[in-house]
């Protein structure tokens, strides 16, 4: 990030390149996410946003570049190890196990070391509706409830870094607003949050910084208000 913020940098990507088979999709991505802030990663379809998240989470190995989390180089670490170390990615549209009950879904969060009791308590406190549905299989929940469950599971383990992929996809605007309020609140508690969105407006309301990604590169970084104009250019190609 050019205008380096004064806070501690929790996540840093240095010149990350990644490819699917022979086709390179990330051509040197540089990005920093400070602690206790929300960074929005925006860009059109196919820009490489989700791949960036997959690389950070350890689901896709970068071909070159360095990934630094909390001052430690973690490039090439496995997803399950990163999860146990305090990273949480909520993937696009399918953050729950559809054939497991709500309670069993929450139980999966205990691999990071939290007790089931703690996970359930925090989850139900944040989303009371989940408590009513705790014996229901997650696949039968509504889209909004599934996203709540995914968030609840992610947040209940008190992650240091939270990655959200297309949080708003397929959800009613009122629910999206509700979810983003929670995101902002979690950031105030000290968590570093990286949000990937295609549809930008809602997330700009809560983001401290925004980065625009086009064609596998970060083309612009700044305060959300500064980026409004570039944003429409990135989408419309103007």
């Amino acid at each position: 990030m050019t205008d380096a913020p004064v806070q501690d940098i929790l996540l840093e990507l240095r010149d990350i390149r990644a490819a699917y088979e022979q086709i390179e999709v990330l051509h040197g991505v540089n990005l920093s996410v400070p602690a206790a802030s929300v960074v929005a990663l925006l860009g059109p379809n196919g820009a490489g946003k989700s791949t960036t998240l997959r690389v950070i989470a350890g689901l896709h190995a970068p071909t070159s570049g360095t990934l630094v989390i909390a001052g430690r180089r973690v490039s090439g670490a496995r997803a399950d190890d990163l999860a146990r170390a305090g990273m949480c990615l909520i993937p696009e549209g399918k953050g729950v196990f559809p054939n497991l009950t709500v309670r069993e879904n929450l139980r999966m969060a205990t691999y990071t070391g939290a007790s089931l009791h703690h996970v359930e308590e925090t989850a139900y406190a944040r989303f009371p509706r989940l408590k009513e549905r705790r014996k229901q299989t997650a696949g039968t929940l509504s889209g909004g409830e599934q996203q709540m469950l995914a968030m609840a599971r992610g947040l209940a383990v008190d992650p240091a870094l939270l990655l959200l992929d297309e949080l708003s996809m397929g959800l009613a605007p009122i629910i999206v607003e509700e979810l983003y309020e929670i995101v902002a609140q979690v950031a105030r508690d000290g968590v570093a949050i990286l949000v990937v969105e295609q549809f930008a407006r809602t997330v700009l309301g809560v983001a401290d910084y925004a980065a625009i990604m086009v064609g596998g590169r970060i083309v612009n970084v700044g305060a959300p208000s500064e980026l409004e104009d570039e944003l429409s250019a990135a989408y419309l190609g103007a």
Partner: protein
């Protein structure tokens, strides 16, 4: 009433054992996506180990049980996961199948190696055969314990999967593997646990069969086919339905025994000798029916796999068959009659393996029944090819094509593992039941003759007045037939129909949305494959001169499929590899080096297991290794000159067979570094890619990758996929 109760108890006991075996199978399939054909073989091995500890060494039963079920079997499961199954991520269904079938073959081979199969082994049921009286019927404690164990397994699995975090993680891995990892769950450990439990359950089912069944590696390993049927009733997913399935099959088998007698008093048809061997086929018939009744799956979309087969060039294929025919002619001139028979087998088996190239290699449809079609071809040749009439060959092709099309009908709705199981069920039904039938009449006029409950003679072909009855003539006939069919397969691959098959393999959904006729294409390729296998079987019968049902059994067919996939199922070279390695492993090497015969029992299995690491097969690797030689005129010249010299030396009896063989080998290997040395001097040769076809023409499947699409390309694509030209664009533009 008491007979009823006796058979009810027998049925329940059998059902209980099937249930234990099938639940282990379902557990490993759902958590790891690998359908373990070797599940029964693992159970067999467990049973042998138990026999060793309990009866041979005389250890107390509880200790022997604990060691096998709680130590050895789980450890073996973990070993399987770490050493083999983990590498199968991203491979095609055929490769996964081959790896587990190979494991089956290796385990059966190892068991026959360790425990001499000719020796009789004493086994006994648990509790020394003691029992109790139950409503006037005697029930042994063994039977009661078996049923109780099945119930305990059901409850235990339920507890593990729903109440332990490790079990919840297993189910989570099934739902979404990456998400499980994002939660911090170790999916590899879940898989290990699943394999450990699965192998333990397999061993338990194997041990429970002791006392009622003879300790035989092959029989015990194949009993699992019955458990497959149970697992399929649970659609490989639901454990309760699997238990129900086991119950249905166990009881059906038991009640068939009593009610057949009762029914035959009223209905004459049930006394028929045709039903004598029916009982053993009940489970596979249920399996077949269940597969038919499965709800229509969604069409497969694009699947990314690691294997790749380039389009064969016509020139390369012609060179290949030229070498094959010349090699066969020369080598057969120098060898003894018994080796000539071995050599003729190479080509007959090679043709059977060729039948898999269009079906599995191009179209991606797995079939485990190719040897069964070969059996039908051999029988046809025996009865309709009297006096070596070539029309017998034609009948073999036609009849097999017809039956192949019939088998394709359920296959239209199945793919992957379900299709493999359906063809396996068909093959097992033939070899357990149909092939053992005496002659019968259909609709009162059509006489069907099979193996006549023994063996039937096959007369060697007379083609255009040429007698092929000498072994050497059989070799040449085999080589020519193999070459012709191989060229046909190459032409098919390069044709419009071949491209359609490949498109179907890549994405059925895409083909359907483009308007391609999937039904017709699948039926056609099944019929074609069956016809090739039938011709191969007819020629194989001619080589052997006498055929019986055992030669074409399901289990004998597995190595052909396995080795063809190992060789490279998408290329004719792979089929040749299958023929040659099968003949080498089963007849030639044991003859030459008898001390190796035990090792050879497990070799095909080990070769197959290695496939997980190289899914494109061995032939593609060999091909790549020889690339420098093929691209250098100097090396090719050296090779041709040296081989000619060797042939001359051998023909004039200057050198013997073994020196000839080794000299040829040395020359072949030496041509590679020579090719590398002179490679830079022949840049024009290097530029010509063997897969690129003639001249600058780009194969259709590479258009859009190597250069952008043009309107002409789109028209060609439509034609190739059998879609009538759509005027959509034209209308919009004008």
């Amino acid at each position: 009433m008491s007979t009823f109760l006796t058979f009810l108890i027998t049925g329940l006991t059998t059902a209980a054992i099937y249930a234990v075996g099938a639940s282990g199978l379902v557990l490993t399939y759902t958590t790891t996506g690998v359908f373990n054909f070797a599940h029964g073989a693992v159970g067999m091995f467990g049973a042998f180990l138990y026999w060793q500890l309990r009866f041979d060494w005389g250890w107390p039963a509880p200790i022997a049980l604990a060691i096998v079920l709680l130590v050895m079997a789980p450890l073996f499961g973990v070993f399987l996961e770490v050493a083999i199954m983990r590498n199968l991520e991203g491979t095609s269904e055929a490769v996964r199948l081959v790896v587990s079938i190979s494991l089956l073959a290796a385990l059966v081979g190892a068991a026959n190696w360790i425990w001499d199969p000719t020796q009789n082994r004493f086994t006994a049921s648990f509790f020394e055969g003691k029992g109790f009286d139950f409503f006037g019927t005697r029930v042994t404690w063994h039977e009661a314990a078996t049923v109780l164990i099945a119930i305990a397994v059901a409850i235990g699995l339920r507890f593990v999967l729903y109440n332990l975090r490790a079990g919840v993680a297993m189910r989570a891995t099934v739902d979404d593997r990456p998400l499980a990892a994002l939660n911090g769950a170790r999916s590899d450990r879940s898989a290990m646990l699943a394999w450990a439990i699965g192998c333990s359950l397999a061993a338990l089912s194997g041990i429970l069969f002791l006392g009622t069944l003879a300790l035989d590696a092959g029989t015990l390993s194949l009993l699992i086919v019955n458990a497959y049927a149970a697992a399929m009733i649970g659609r490989l997913r639901s454990l309760p339905m699997t238990f129900l399935g086991a119950l249905i099959i166990g009881l059906a088998e038991a009640f068939w025994q009593i009610y057949r007698n009762d029914l035959s008093q009223h209905f004459h048809v049930f006394t028929s000798t045709y039903l004598d061997t029916f009982a053993s086929a009940i489970a596979v018939i249920i399996l077949f029916v269940v597969l038919w009744l499965l709800p229509n799956p969604r069409l497969r979309g694009h699947s990314r796999v690691r294997e790749f087969f380039p389009t064969p060039s016509l020139r390369g294929s012609l060179v290949f068959v030229g070498i094959v025919i010349a090699g066969a002619a020369f080598i057969s001139a120098w060898t003894t009659q018994s080796h000539q028979i071995d050599l003729a087998n190479v080509f007959a088996l090679g043709i059977i393996a060729l039948s898999l190239v269009p079906l599995t290699g191009f179209a991606g449809q797995v079939s485990l029944a190719s040897l069964s079609f070969a059996g039908i071809g051999a029988v046809t040749m025996a009865h309709l090819g009297g006096g070596g009439d070539p029309l017998g060959l034609l009948w073999a092709a036609l009849i097999c094509a017809g039956i192949g099309a019939l088998v394709a009908i359920p296959a239209l709705r199945l793919s992957g593992i379900y299709l493999a199981l359906a063809t396996a069920a068909f093959a097992v039904m033939l070899d357990r039941w149909i092939f053992n039938l005496p002659n019968f009449r259909v609709f009162g006029w059509f006489n069907v003759k099979l193996f006549e409950q023994g063996s039937v003679a096959v007369t060697r072909l007379k083609v255009f007045g040429l007698d092929t009855s000498s072994p050497r003539a059989q070799v040449v006939l085999g080589a020519v037939a193999f070459s012709l069919i191989a060229l046909f397969v190459v032409a098919l691959r390069r044709s419009r129909f071949g491209r359609r098959l490949l498109a179907m393999k890549d994405s059925e959904a895409a083909c359907a949305t483009l308007g391609m006729n999937l039904v017709g294409t699948k039926v056609a390729v099944f019929a074609l494959s069956a016809a090739i296998a039938g011709v191969g079987g007819a020629l194989y019968g001619g080589v052997q001169q006498s055929v019986n049902a055992q030669m074409f059994s399901f289990i004998n067919g597995l190595p052909i499929f396995m080795l063809a996939v190992v060789g490279g199922i998408g290329a004719i070279g792979g089929a040749f590899f299958a023929g040659i390695s099968l003949a080498l492993l089963t007849t030639i090497l044991p003859d030459v080096v008898p001390s190796l015969s035990h090792l050879l029992l497990i070799t095909p299995g080990l070769i197959g297991i290695s496939l997980g690491r190289n899914p494109s097969g061995a032939v593609s690797q060999i091909r790549e290794g020889f690339a420098p030689m093929r691209q250098s005129k100097v090396a090719l010249g050296f090779l041709a000159a040296s081989l000619t010299a060797i042939v001359v030396l051998r023909s004039t009896n200057t050198i013997a067979n073994w020196p000839t063989f080794f000299a040829a080998l040395v020359v072949l290997v030496a041509s590679v570094p020579i090719g590398e040395m002179f490679a830079h001097k022949a840049p024009a040769e290097v530029a010509e890619e063997p897969g690129a076809g003639a001249g600058a023409e780009i194969p259709l499947e590479w258009v859009g990758i190597t250069r952008p699409f043009t309107d002409e390309d789109v028209r060609q694509m439509d034609a190739a996929l059998g879609i009538s030209e759509v005027e959509m664009y034209g209308a919009a533009r004008s």
